[in-house]
Symmetry: C2
Subunit: 505 residues, 2 copies
Amino acid sequence: MAKERRSAIEPTRAQDYPEWYQQVIKAADLAENSPVRGCMVIKPWGYSLWENMQKSLDKMFKDTGHTNAYFPLFIPVSYLEKEAEHVEGFAKECAVVTHSKLELGEGGKLVPAAPLEEPLIVRPTSETIIGEMYSRWVQSYRDLPLLINQWANVVRWEMRTRLFLRTAEFLWQEGHTAHATRGEAEIETLKMLSVYEDFAQNWMAMPVICGKKTEGEKFPGAVDTYCIEAMMQDRKALQAGTSHFLGQNFAKASNIRYLSEAGAQEYAWTTSWGVSTRLIGGMVMTHSDDDGLVLPPKLAPLHVVILPVLHSEAEKENVLKYCETLKRDISQKKYCGSEIKVDVDSRDLRGGEKMWSWVKKGVPIRIEVGPRDIAADSLFVARRDTGEKLAYPRTKFLEDVPDILQSIQDGLFNRAKAYRDANTVEISSKEDFYAYFTPKNEKKPEIHGGFAIADYNGSAEIEDMLRRDLKVTVRCIPLSGAVPKGKCIFTGENAKYRAVFAKSY
Amino acid sequence: MAKERRSAIEPTRAQDYPEWYQQVIKAADLAENSPVRGCMVIKPWGYSLWENMQKSLDKMFKDTGHTNAYFPLFIPVSYLEKEAEHVEGFAKECAVVTHSKLELGEGGKLVPAAPLEEPLIVRPTSETIIGEMYSRWVQSYRDLPLLINQWANVVRWEMRTRLFLRTAEFLWQEGHTAHATRGEAEIETLKMLSVYEDFAQNWMAMPVICGKKTEGEKFPGAVDTYCIEAMMQDRKALQAGTSHFLGQNFAKASNIRYLSEAGAQEYAWTTSWGVSTRLIGGMVMTHSDDDGLVLPPKLAPLHVVILPVLHSEAEKENVLKYCETLKRDISQKKYCGSEIKVDVDSRDLRGGEKMWSWVKKGVPIRIEVGPRDIAADSLFVARRDTGEKLAYPRTKFLEDVPDILQSIQDGLFNRAKAYRDANTVEISSKEDFYAYFTPKNEKKPEIHGGFAIADYNGSAEIEDMLRRDLKVTVRCIPLSGAVPKGKCIFTGENAKYRAVFAKSY
């Protein structure tokens, strides 16, 4: 029912999607670039999203038997070298610590001094250092499984960065487990993938496809990499989480061996799995609109904001008192087992400015309260997801508020899923595939297809060709529906996989 | 009522206190040294202590109006240089990042490549990078106060490290606030000091003295540093937390200016305050005994452990079932507003080994349940703090368990306070002071005095003399009871302060 009007975010998604994304983040005050190359500052509103994600994920990890621990930030270069593919994958972009002090040099400038015997890198991921510790902790089959998670910062010296999606430093969790058997480790890998799927869909309201990466896209050193892939509103894919079955590769590199029940020395089987602050970027891009951020209630720092509408000083006391009582009443309601988070914004700002500030921050429900509403004991309630505005009798609203929040949560998921489904096509010829991924308008290269599902021969050559010609990659071989229906659409050979193809972040 | 016996930890505190500390940590499986110089690995039991500390502190910070955010790990060297005392304090021991990749060098070894234009240091503390961001965020008095906290890892290249107490990398929180007036910033500094005092005393059960540091001991760049100081069981002091009034020093260095209500450009007044994983070391050393770790219930990862006593396979099912029911009943009780954390240890271990493992881990209450106890519906309950063992009727225990936990919490605080008070003396002559701090036995240099309270002239010369002669420092000028009673005991001059002196960590 919104009137035709200018959007709060400029440019709009249709006008310039990448810039729209930056502006949504700015308008919601989530994060900004720091003067340190590639490193972002996560501001309070953005960080509270991460805190809420951490809280839910942490409970899921603990409910599946994991405990948290903390391992060193620094990794000796010699550790990285132990696994050949791993070092290949990470040596190219890493922060290298070479000195342990600064001294005054020529011209009074501080220069590095006290060189280290062996350079250290700032962890880009912790398989090697954790593997070293596990090799000390694991002696017998009784010490297995080891089920440990770490919340930490990691650094990958990315050349082209983008807030949340790709930054030199980011925050994440990395689970690292060691098992006595291959089967157990494989089950763990898939179990954590399904934890990520559950979190993405039921907390972030972000539909995802669970699948397996091809050889060319997997984690350096992994036997198998599984992932969850989501579609953003520019129809590009975002890899939102990965779970790796590492086989015995890292166990051999780090010498994680155990004495089996039968008395033999065996290498352990390990896994690792992680999600990062990238999820915030995914959440922003999945739900936000041309008026700014839209938050799923389950992760919103604030569920309801009450905006007193004051036309004169005389009304002020009465209206504010009513608002405070309303706040108290709402906060006694529960949503998903916790108190509903509600606040009164009594800042001395113009009504429009104040209202828009909360629209742009994505708060699910806004309530405007003025003297007339008080007289009628009625609330003027606006939903952030649909823009719908309704007058509610006060008691009715108090009864319904948990349901309204759940309806917003469900509505966001359904809307995102419908969008993804509408932009996913099955393709059965190379010509259609190339046409689908070729921008129709040179000025808007972001307008192209979405997800394509197609059969192919599974070869690296085809993947290279698509990457080169179209910047398209195999996002994953889905865990369900992956049986090829026909021949490879690119070569006419027998198809090995039915895969999801897309451009991606 | 404990019988004369060997202690579970060797050596005992009296035999070798520093080694006892290492062995308590090892026996409780809290942490260990990593192969990365100076960096520790915090193991699950140790990390859960940090998680509990974080949870309580974080709530206290939020209740006092602070929000969390996240700032970059790296600090450009030029930022560090902005505040003269600050750079002096931190340049000597820091990790310097100089390159952004590794390449194969001679002999096939990886060597640093792609040198950075400007070296970065890994944050030893974040005043300078946060100051830079604040200078961008603060424009007008309306933007103040800024009340932000960060949970993060920091690195100081310490030469002599010790688990938790002094490590190259450690975890901490650092609060950074900016205010419009000096008075407001001073109030903030003292408010956060009292949050730390509250946390130390009421959560960690660790009595502390609140006071101010002397010029020589304050934070590099601060106007005033306040601290909480605790006494360990070797009668040394541990600085457990600090809160700094930074005046306008960092505001000037980072150009944090605001337009005042009166329309003038003014520098803001800033504060910073922090506690770290060092607190875990303090907690270990305050309460533990010759049998290992002793945990205050408010921070224990587990309050009650139930140990089934099985003499035959036939009893097993019945005993385990009783234990599980007991666990459920206990977990429905509340302590300090939360569920009591209880577990059954049904591992296949010898009874003695199993029992001692929980003694060494510091769990406040152990319950042994065997067939005879079940027949009598009675529980054999052991308190970790006093060693006391009592048979409790089951229903009586269920009623009393929150009170028992609180009595352990209070008992630990009172015991630690009595120990500190018994080892604190007022000293009124230099001779007595030197005698107090001179070890009586050359072989046991750790046996010396404890805290000395004495009047002195407040000069750096006296402080240098004491540091050189006795390794004693002014721990703080207490916020209460700091009025000198007489002349400076070292010079006979007028006394400026009545201070607390001690050896320290």
